[in-house]
C-alpha cells in the first residue's frame, strides 16, 4: 500500500516536472491553444494550487505571520526547484519561516509566457493574496531565481504603476542568478536561428523553424525584457521603496577562471560587484536555488535593519 502511494506520488512529481519543462519550451503555444498542460499561475502547496480566499488560507496556514516571503522559480522549473536535494522538505522559504518567521508562498507559473505578461499576472495575484491573507501584512520579501527575478521586477513595476497596496509592503527583493542584462545562451540561440535561416538550404531553414518554436518566455531572456515592446531592463527602474540584492554564482571556484568569465554560473553572467551584490564561486545556476551558503546570505540580509 505504501509502495503504491510512493509510486503514485513519484508519477505525479514527474508529471508536474515534465509539464513545467514543456511549459517553459512551448508555454505560449499551449496557452494559445488552451491546452490542458498549460499551467495557470498560482501559489502551490503540496502540488496543489492554493485558493486565495480567507477560508482556504486559514486552512492551509496553521500559523500565519505578518511577514511573508514569495518565491518565484526560473524557466522550465516549478516550486520544487527550491527544495534542497538532500532535504526535500527544506527550501529558502521553509528555512526563512523557521528562522525569521516569514510565511512562505511558492509560485508556480507558465514560464513560456512573455515575461511582461507574467509580471502583470503576479502583480494581480499578490494583490489577491494580500486581500485574502488572514493577518495584516507588514513585510513582504520577494525572492526570484533566474527568470523569476525578472518577473518580480516586472510585477513591481506594474504594481507601482497602479499604486497597488502590496508594493508598499515589499522591503527586500532578492534576485538569484537573474539575467538582468540578458542570457548568453538565448543570445546564442537567436544568432544560430538567424544563421540557419540565412543559409539557402531547406533543411537548415527547417531546423531554424524548429528552433524558433521556443517560447516567448525564452526569447524574452535574450535581453531580459520586462515590458511589452521594450527590450532592456535598464529602462525599468528598480522599485525605489525596497532594498534589492543580487546573488550570482560561477561554474568554477575561481571567479577569475576563463570558464567562469565566459559562462558565469553556466547560464547567466554575474553582475558587476557592488554593495548588495554577492558572488558564490563554484555554485552553478541551478544550485543557486538551494544552497546553504546562499541561504545564510539571504537570512543575514533579511535580518539586517
Amino acid at each position: 500500500m505504501a509502495d503504491e502511494k510512493n509510486a503514485s506520488a513519484n508519477a505525479t512529481h514527474w508529471g508536474a516536472t515534465l509539464a513545467s519543462f514543456v511549459n517553459g519550451c512551448f508555454g505560449d503555444y499551449l496557452d494559445g491553444r488552451n491546452n490542458g498542460l498549460a499551467i495557470d499561475m498560482a501559489f502551490y502547496q503540496n502540488n496543489r494550487p492554493l485558493d486565495l480566499t480567507p477560508e482556504a488560507l486559514n486552512e492551509a496556514l496553521p500559523a500565519p505571520t505578518g511577514k511573508l516571503c514569495v518565491l518565484v522559480h526560473g524557466l522550465c522549473c516549478n516550486e520544487w526547484s527550491w527544495d534542497f536535494p538532500d532535504q526535500p522538505a527544506r527550501s529558502y522559504g521553509s528555512a526563512l519561516q523557521h528562522d525569521l518567521g516569514h510565511t512562505p508562498f511558492l509560485l508556480r507559473y507558465n514560464t513560456g509566457l512573455p515575461i511582461p505578461y507574467n509580471g502583470q499576472l503576479l502583480d494581480e495575484l499578490l494583490e489577491r493574496l494580500l486581500a485574502a491573507y488572514p493577518v495584516a501584512v507588514d513585510d513582504l520579501v520577494l525572492i526570484g531565481h533566474s527568470m523569476g527575478g525578472l518577473i518580480l521586477r516586472a510585477a513591481c513595476h506594474y504594481g507601482a504603476g497602479r499604486a497597488a497596496g502590496w508594493v508598499d509592503k515589499v522591503s527586500r527583493v532578492f534576485y538569484i542568478g537573474t539575467p538582468h542584462e540578458g542570457a548568453g545562451l538565448e543570445q546564442f540561440a537567436h544568432l544560430m536561428t538567424k544563421m540557419l535561416h540565412a543559409m539557402p538550404h531547406p533543411v537548415s531553414a527547417l531546423v531554424g523553424d524548429i528552433a524558433n518554436q521556443r517560447s516567448q518566455g525564452i526569447k524574452d531572456l535574450r535581453h531580459g525584457t520586462l515590458l511589452d515592446g521594450v527590450d532592456f531592463t535598464e529602462s525599468v527602474p528598480w522599485l525605489a521603496s525596497a532594498q534589492h540584492y543580487l546573488i550570482a554564482g560561477t561554474v568554477t571556484d575561481d571567479p577569475g577562471h576563463l570558464a567562469s568569465q565566459l559562462f558565469g554560473d553556466g547560464l547567466v553572467q554575474p553582475p558587476q560587484a557592488g554593495e548588495n551584490v554577492r558572488l558564490f564561486p563554484g555554485v552553478g545556476h541551478m544550485q543557486l536555488a538551494h544552497d546553504d551558503a546562499v541561504y545564510e546570505q539571504i537570512k543575514q540580509w533579511c535580518a539586517s535593519a
Binding site: N35, G36, L37, P202
Partner: protein
C-alpha cells in the same frame, strides 16, 4: 485518476498529435523543395525531359500519399486516445459524485 491529471494527459496527447502533424507537413515541404533541383536539372536535358517530369509527378504523388497516411494515422490514433480519455473522465466524474 484525478481530473487535473486527465486534463494534463489530454494536453500531452494534443501536443504530440499537433507536433506529429506539423512535423509531417514541414518535412514533406522540405522534401518537395529538395527534389525540385535535381528534377529541374534532369528535365533540362531535352531527350529525357518527358520521362523525368513523369517520374517527378509519380515521386511527388507517392511522397504526398505517405505523408498523408502518417497524418491520417496520427489523427486516428489521437481520436481513439481521446475517446479513452472521455471514458476515464466520465468515470472520474461518477466517482466524484458518489
Amino acid at each position: 485518476m484525478e481530473n487535473a491529471s486527465l486534463r494534463q494527459i489530454r494536453g500531452a496527447k494534443e501536443l504530440i498529435e499537433e507536433g506529429i502533424d506539423a512535423a509531417a507537413l514541414a518535412i514533406s515541404d522540405v522534401q518537395r523543395k529538395m527534389t525540385q533541383t535535381p528534377y529541374a536539372l534532369l528535365a533540362g536535358v531535352k531527350p529525357i525531359a518527358g520521362p523525368v517530369r513523369a517520374i517527378e509527378r509519380a515521386h511527388l504523388k507517392i511522397a504526398d500519399s505517405v505523408y498523408f497516411s502518417i497524418r491520417l494515422g496520427n489523427r486516428l490514433v489521437g481520436n481513439m486516445a481521446g475517446l479513452v480519455l472521455d471514458q476515464l473522465e466520465a468515470q472520474a466524474k461518477r466517482k466524484g459524485r458518489s
